[in-house]
């Protein structure tokens, strides 16, 4: 599964993109965030406040219960500020 990070999430985690292989028990967005948060201090800092973390699964906004699977492109980013 490919994970993309944008804006300050990218800065805190220290990478723009990575391939991860979470255990089979990780089947939802919420579970994925829990698993990522445990990967290190940068992840923990980036994901501490879930209120300001938006998630897209295959380029569509997704809530915490949205399913994730191998081969998905997941993106984590703060609330958008375009326009």
């Amino acid at each position: 599964m490919k994970i993309l990070y944008f804006a300050w999430l990218k800065g805190k985690i220290g990478t723009a993109e990575e391939e991860v292989q979470p255990p089979a028990s990780v089947t939802t967005v919420a579970a994925l965030l829990d698993w990522l948060e445990a990967r290190g201090a940068g992840y923990a800092a980036a994901l501490a406040n879930r209120e300001v973390v938006r998630v897209a699964v295959n380029q569509e906004y997704a809530g915490p219960d949205h399913r994730v699977a191998q081969g998905d492109e997941i993106a984590l980013f703060p609330p958008v500020t375009g326009g």
Partner: protein, 155 residues
């Protein structure tokens, strides 16, 4: 039509293209967003040297195309255009152009407002401002969410 690009755009040329050969356009509404040299910060207004717009290539184009299609479903538009820039921009630079054309002015004006409200809250762009105290990611504003929500009830 939607475009996501680093380069600037020529508003006069874009408008001319948008209305060319269509004699059923009675009104063309547009909004241009520009980089200001001051921005609200936690400690009052702070001078901005420049900003860098990051985006999510792929998802950006997808979301802009979706919302343009939605505007065309809600209003009888003759033409529509969204251009959003990314990369480093300086004060006075254009960031975004939204333009909508219709036989009647109200459809053009409303759909233009709808598109800009929507892309403020849904298009995956993030602004990093260069301030005297370093780079600072711009926070999303509650007022932008409220503006976008006005349109949800009608969908």
């Amino acid at each position: 039509m939607i475009r996501v690009q680093a380069e600037d755009f020529d508003i006069g040329a874009e408008f001319a293209r948008l209305t060319a050969d269509n004699r059923n356009i009675g009104g063309l509404a547009s909004f241009v967003g520009l980089v200001r040299d001051m921005a609200p910060s936690r400690t009052g207004n702070a001078p901005i040297g420049a900003m860098t717009l990051e985006h999510y290539p792929g998802m950006t184009e997808k979301k802009l195309a979706e919302i343009e299609a939605e505007a065309n479903r809600r209003w009888p538009l003759e033409a529509s255009l969204i251009i959003h820039r990314y990369g480093r921009l300086e004060p006075g630079d254009r960031i975004v152009l939204v333009a909508t054309a219709s036989a009647h002015r109200q459809a053009a004006l409303e759909s233009c407002q709808f598109l800009i409200d929507w892309l403020k809250t849904k298009a995956p762009f993030w602004k990093l401002e260069e301030t005297p105290s370093g780079g600072q990611w711009v926070d999303a504003r509650d007022s932008d969410d409220a503006a976008a929500k006005r349109w949800a009830a009608e969908s």
